[in-house]
């Protein structure tokens, strides 16, 4: 089963249905990055680095974008850690895998 075969909507119908919503989401991301530029003390942050890598996958033309971005934002190690340093998660791995 391929993606294009499995959604009952036509290509045009899908665009009509979701274009405006996703246009807004792109502008939100742009505004977020602009906002970061306007903050006082720019610093390297592993989450923003991961986000920039993820954005590059959106336009590489290779498909399966969601799964590939999920993998990019995942801890790819396989062994349990010794102890949990915190209870929360950050949304991106501390060690950033290759895009």
């Amino acid at each position: 089963m391929t993606e294009s075969e499995s959604c009952p909507l036509t290509h045009r119908e899908a665009i009509d249905l979701w274009f405006l919503e996703n246009r807004a989401k792109v502008l939100d991301i742009a505004a977020f990055l602009d906002r970061l530029d306007r903050t006082g003390d720019p610093e390297d942050d592993f989450r923003i680095a991961a986000l920039r890598n993820a954005l590059s996958l959106l336009i590489d033309g290779q498909g399966d974008r969601t799964r590939r971005i999920q993998l990019l934002l995942s801890d790819r190690s396989s062994e349990p850690i010794e102890a949990a340093p915190t209870q929360g998660a950050f949304g991106a791995p501390l060690r950033i895998p290759e895009a």
Binding site: C7, L9, E82, Q87, A89
Partner: protein
């Protein structure tokens, strides 16, 4: 259209939510034991919580015509202190034979630590001894992929049948392996993390509708107790047939949960 929300934390929700869920077609729910947003400091704190899950919530849900069921465990976020977690587990037998208990859950991993693994394995051993169903929490965000794989390996090592285990909170990068290894899969519909209703329907379109369900996991955080009926609307919007919608939001939960003699719903 009627539906079942197979994962929702009603201890954190209001009676207004019960009313709105009933109005939207909810006829049954299952509520896994989870983290309250803070660490409980005593075994008796958990004992009170288990009473809430097995006595208070079923009565509250019944007022709105909703069948309430639950799963019991100590959740992985409070499992880092192995000694304390074992103490809490020692009081589970006081509640496991209550009439609305379906099995062990939501067990799993949070930060994928060795201590969490130790308590996960203890729960799996308990589930095997009871021959019960298991509901599994998979970790958040960057920890999900690794944790899901560790959990599936632990289930296999414990000798449990994968078709009696539901791996919850699957997303695009974990759903394939979960289904291919014979487990049931749950998609949690959240506004920010996990799946939106749109992405959940995308996953159904790519991976099919066998051994999979959707839930709201509504709790004290950013969540929506009406997420499942909203996903039904999303499926209708895409012209998916009613039978497919009903399969994912009603029939599939019955197929899995019905393997517990304590699960009840009017069909």
């Amino acid at each position: 259209m009627k539906y079942i929300d197979p994962h929702i934390h009603m201890v954190s929700r209001t009676t207004d939510d019960y009313m709105r869920m009933a109005q939207a077609g909810c006829v049954a729910i299952t509520e896994p034991a989870f983290w309250a947003g803070y660490d409980r400091c005593s075994v008796d704190g958990f004992r009170d919580y288990y009473r809430q899950l097995t006595e208070t919530e079923p009565a509250r849900a019944a007022q709105y015509g909703i069948h309430h069921h639950c799963w019991l465990c100590i959740n992985p976020k409070e499992a880092e202190d192995v000694g304390f977690a074992r103490e809490v587990m020692s009081c589970l037998p006081e509640f496991l034979d209550k009439s609305n208990v379906l099995g062990i859950g939501e067990i799993g991993l949070n930060k994928n630590s060795r201590n969490e693994m130790t308590i996960l394995e203890a729960h799996l051993e308990l589930a095997k001894s009871l021959d019960s169903l298991v509901l599994v929490h998979t970790p958040h965000l960057e920890d999900k992929l690794k944790g899901t794989q560790l959990i599936m390996d632990a289930v296999n090592n414990a000798g449990l049948q994968p078709d009696k285990v539901l791996i919850d909170h699957v997303e695009e990068h974990t759903v394939g392996e979960v289904l291919e290894r014979g487990f049931w899969a749950g998609m949690t519909l959240y506004p920010d993390s996990k799946c939106t209703p749109q992405r959940a329907v995308d996953i159904l379109e790519r991976w099919g509708t066998d051994r999979i369900w959707m839930n709201s996991a509504g709790d004290w955080g950013n969540s929506d107790p009406l997420a499942v009926p909203k996903a039904q609307v999303e499926m209708r919007l895409r012209r998916h047939p009613s039978a497919m919608i009903e399969k994912v939001t009603f029939d599939n939960p019955i197929t899995f949960l019905g393997r517990s003699p304590n699960f009840h719903v009017e069909c």
